[in-house]
């Protein structure tokens, strides 16, 4: 009997324990969601509420950004920032692939980071309600023309860098001055093939397979934005647009004369190029870092994909920094301070240029140590020989992964003609734009 009593008491105590614990948890969650939540961690909540009223700026911010290549450097930067200002910067990791989904889930749950990155265009438009106004940062006026992300007259996005893509080629194997149109491009592919070298390579990842290369004919339209709109409405078709007809010829020639890109991954694409097995790859200046592990013993350059004699490479701002407008005022201020520091302090600038390897987008910043590909991008930019990235600005959200990749996969695994490819791509745009 005594045992039973003890049992019962224990039981009641455990139950009460559970109830209070869960009850507490719930209440806490609610409170943080309603009042000053939007933070990633409970600890942060505490510091914030303590800070409130005393100082204006939070003691800790969270940075979440999509550029995997700079994650380690960014963490080092966070250490220096803490040393200089005492504000802790927590950098969240990402694999890159699912960054946007992760970000949206976190923002949607009010657990978003303070500072995050997006591609300006479709992505930033969709999340425009979450973007804080950054117009009052001191260096905003110095950002190169059309490079900042401006929404309703307010600057919301600060550009990372500019990036450009085109045909990255081996100067020892290809003479760029001789590849200026479709015929010479095809001749080059055939010559390389005869020499036992892969003339040109795409790779199986969505943008490297179809996104970037399809960007070029869109960018060559007079008004790419209007063209995409008309395409979705059915007022124009790809097969009747000369740039796309030519694009289809390129795709056929590539399928005919090179490795199947579906069997090639980014690593292999860049590795084969670095080892001289491929004469050229369709990539951008971001891929230079991939060559670090190889002894590259040739000079490389970047040339345009010569669709209808195109002599420009596609250059744009791939990513901008944004501050979460749903964070607390203190956090927003801390986020802005961080970006301000990054672009104006000596340490910040040193990291942007030397560690991240960015091409300057803000006046009075200079990068002396650009890699050859970034150098090429900078030269094309200075010469005004650039075309935009309609793929980020105007294409319907998610189209590359969900609609374009299957079409490209079909093209590279069957005998589908160039015209059929255009029809299928056309259909994909109509479908995705609905």
């Amino acid at each position: 009997m005594k045992m039973k009593k003890i049992f019962r008491i224990l039981l009641v105590m455990t139950l009460i324990g559970i109830m209070t614990l869960t009850g507490c948890g719930g209440a806490k969650d609610n409170k943080s969601a309603n009042s000053d939540g939007k933070t990633a961690e409970k600890e942060e909540d505490k510091t914030n509420s303590e800070e409130k009223g005393t100082t204006e700026s939070a003691k800790k911010i969270v940075v979440f950004q999509s550029k995997v290549e700079i994650t380690d450097q960014l963490k080092a930067l966070a250490q220096e920032y803490k040393a200089e200002t005492g504000v802790e910067v927590e950098v969240w990791n990402t694999t890159g692939d699912d960054y946007l989904q992760q970000l949206k889930i976190k923002l949607g749950n009010n657990q978003g980071p303070t500072v995050f990155s997006l591609a300006p265009g479709s992505e930033s438009n969709e999340l425009s309600a979450y973007l804080a106004d950054l117009s009052d940062l001191s260096f905003v006026g110095d950002i190169a023309e059309n490079m900042a992300d401006v929404k309703e007259g307010k600057v919301t996005g600060i550009p990372y860098t500019v990036e450009g893509f085109g045909v990255v080629y081996n100067k020892g194997l290809i003479d760029a001055s001789k590849v200026t149109d479709f015929a010479s491009f095809e001749t080059m592919l055939k010559e390389q093939k005869d020499a036992g070298i892969n003339g040109f390579s795409l790779s199986s990842e969505s943008y490297f397979l179809i996104g970037h290369i399809l960007n070029t004919p869109f960018a060559l339209q007079g008004d790419p934005g209007a063209y995409v709109e008309q395409l979705i409405k059915g007022e124009v078709t790809l097969e009747k647009t000369p740039e796309f007809v030519e694009f289809a010829k390129f795709m056929e020639a590539i399928r005919e004369n090179t490795n199947n890109p579906l069997e090639v991954k980014y690593d292999k694409e860049t590795g084969d190029f670095a080892m001289g097995k491929s004469a050229s790859i369709h990539q951008g200046n971001w891929c230079y870092g991939m060559f670090a592990d190889y002894d590259v013993n040739f000079e490389m350059g970047m040339m345009p994909l010569p669709i209808l004699g195109n002599d420009k490479i596609a250059v744009s701002v791939p990513t901008c920094w944004y501050v979460n407008s749903q964070a607390t005022d203190a956090e927003i201020q801390a986020g802005k301070d961080f970006i301000e520091w990054l672009y104006t302090s000596e340490t910040g600038k040193k990291y942007l240029m030397e560690e991240f390897g960015f091409i300057p987008v803000v006046a009075n910043m200079k990068n002396e140590k650009l890699d050859p590909l970034s150098q090429a991008v900078a030269e094309y930019t200075n010469g005004g020989k650039t075309i935009p990235w309609p793929m980020n600005s105007y294409w319907p959200a998610g189209i590359v992964d969900v609609y374009l990749v299957p079409v490209a996969q079909e093209f590279f695994t069957t005998n589908m003609t160039g015209t059929e490819l255009l029809q299928a791509l056309n259909e994909a745009f109509v479908e995705a734009g609905k």
Partner: protein, 291 residues
């Protein structure tokens, strides 16, 4: 007196689970039903429009949804059959007189311990690079080529990987069923002159019917919902040939930002899986014998 304490014990074990289940399954499920009637991109600050049943009507004319349903069905039927046949065969093997049975059990169960994502990447390498080089060295290029580039073979590749992963787990369930069969029944059958197959079909199978119920249920529901292996092995390619329903729904919601529409798809998906598995359970339950 006794009753009361029984109830209290009962509550102690059940209530926490009920609480968790309600908050993470039941409530979100009903909220989800609500979302399926609106058009929304998933971001709380963006506009939601009530559209009634139009999401549900739309999905019956969505050819990608229908075709992915077809793939899922094909995949599930094939995978469930193969997984169960192999799982059962393995179970019979390792409960028999095999000398290496303990090692065999461990080895067969091992793939289940590897996550689906990693398994997918490993097999991706096998199906593309290894198969290709086998084909090149042996000349059997009809069988050994890059399977993941062929629509039919890539579905088959997916079935192989799913089987590889699940069969060991299913084997464990069958093993417990087989070990629960009383020796005397089997011995009696053998004394009466029943051969191996007769013992198997007349004695063992009826007695492990509960295992069949569990195994079929687990494989059916898991195969319908497959996502991890799908995403790491083929990402739905080539040309959507291996896009399963779960992936179609994920893409609809998270890539195309059609939250409400994707939610409607998910509800239909749930109903279909629930109906099919319930039918299966009720059929196999009837066949169970009480000893």
């Amino acid at each position: 007196m006794k009753r009361k304490s029984d109830k209290a014990w009962y509550a102690l074990f059940v209530l926490p689970l009920v609480f968790v289940f309600t908050t993470v399954v039941i409530i979100p499920f009903f909220i989800g039903i609500g979302y399926s009637f609106i058009s929304w991109d998933g971001m709380p600050l963006n506009k939601k429009t009530f559209v009634g049943f139009s999401n549900y009507i739309q999905l019956f004319s969505d050819k990608n949804f229908i075709s992915s349903a077809g793939h899922t069905l094909l995949f599930t039927v094939a995978a469930v059959l193969i997984i169960n046949i192999l799982g059962l065969a393995f179970a019979l093997l390792v409960t028999g007189k095999l000398k290496v049975r303990n090692i065999a059990r461990t080895m067969l169960f091992m793939p289940y311990l590897i996550g689906g994502l990693i398994l997918g990447y490993i097999w991706q390498f096998i199906f593309t690079d290894v198969f290709k080089s086998i084909g090149e060295t042996t000349g059997l290029t009809n069988i050994f080529f890059s399977w993941l580039l062929d629509p039919k073979f890539s579905l088959f590749a997916l079935i192989i990987v799913a089987t590889w992963q699940m069969a060991g787990y299913i084997m464990i369930i069958y093993i417990t069923g087989i070990q629960a069969i009383p020796e005397d029944v089997v011995e009696a059958a053998q004394v009466d002159g029943a051969n191996f197959w007769q013992t198997l079909f007349r004695i063992k199978f009826p007695l492990i019917m509960p295992s069949f119920t569990i195994c079929l249920f687990m494989t059916l529901s898991n195969c319908f919902k497959i996502y991890d292996v799908n995403v790491s092995l083929t990402k739905g390619g080539p040309n959507r040939a291996t896009e399963m329903l779960a992936m179609n729904i994920y893409n609809e919601i998270f890539s195309l930002n059609h939250y409400g529409y994707g939610q409607a798809k998910a509800i239909i998906f749930f109903v279909v899986v629930a109906v099919i598995t319930l039918i299966q359970v009720s059929i196999t339950k009837k066949k169970e014998v009480v000893m």
